[in-house]
Symmetry: C3
Subunit: 117 residues, 3 copies
């Protein structure tokens, strides 16, 4: 089953050591996206980067304290995304961490598995 529509693609750049209480911020974002009924959220881990903080982080130097860059990608209709941006703002304020969010327009094709009889 196929559905086509105009949507928005949100990409959130944060570090994997950013936390609210003891919960990683990226986990919090995925859980909230699920609660809000968004179409999907995916977290990818980078191997090197810099951003919110000014240091360059790399997975080459093996340290437990390492803060590697993450990206969380979320896709849905404009209306749902606008609502979720407010939740993201609260999460960033609570975590008090640096981060970058990009919002792009995208055409989205949604495939759903058809249940076999």
């Amino acid at each position: 089953m196929k559905m086509k529509r105009e949507s928005k693609l949100v990409r959130i750049f944060i570090g994997d050591s950013d936390k609210i209480s003891s919960i990683p911020v990226y986990e919090k974002i995925v859980i909230e996206a699920k609660k809000e009924g968004l179409a999907g959220a995916t977290v990818f881990k980078g191997i090197m980067g810099f951003g919110g903080t000014s240091r360059i982080h790399t997975s080459k130097i093996l340290r437990l304290s390492e803060d590697l860059p993450l990206i969380i990608e979320i896709v849905d209709e404009e209306e749902k995304i606008e609502k979720f941006l407010k939740i993201l703002e609260q999460i960033f304020e609570e975590a008090n961490c640096g981060g970058l969010i990009t919002i792009e327009k995208a055409e989205v094709i949604h495939y759903k598995a058809v249940e076999k009889k």
Copy 2:
């Protein structure tokens, strides 16, 4: 050598356990993109996410059956992309798996290595 042109960026969100016969869907997509002569295709594996199915998957829980989210990124001229979207549709139908495809306009700069004499 440098070439600049208007192109389309296609991003396919699926799970790493989605299969056609015994071939992973992401491998099938990369092989077909190569056959069609597209400029490039790259597969990235996520560490956490949800999408086609409603469960949240994470690489934290180590299970062999785990279905981690993948993204496949493909860039080329509009005409070639339009043709490839039909092939993608057939792959999704054959696999009968859930998935999301985003299509964005992008300016593309293509660098080619110059052979040394």
Copy 3:
């Protein structure tokens, strides 16, 4: 603290074995992006793909010589990005490697951690 602005998202597709002297091209790009004061740069490693070269690479076949695909994502204001594209061109020429750069418009929300008194 939150700031909103029109920006550009640059995505660079190269291989992890591309080098200038003995420095990986992706490291060179991140270091130069940092020097130029860009807002952020993040490197992600793919698990399979093809592009600059025509072979399909995959992390399934464990070989030391393997050239896995990488993506470097950079976000900043148009003016800074335009300047950085010239630096990227020099890097690609020096490395003489194949690669693809996509440039997209994106709305960017920038969060900065607030220092506690």
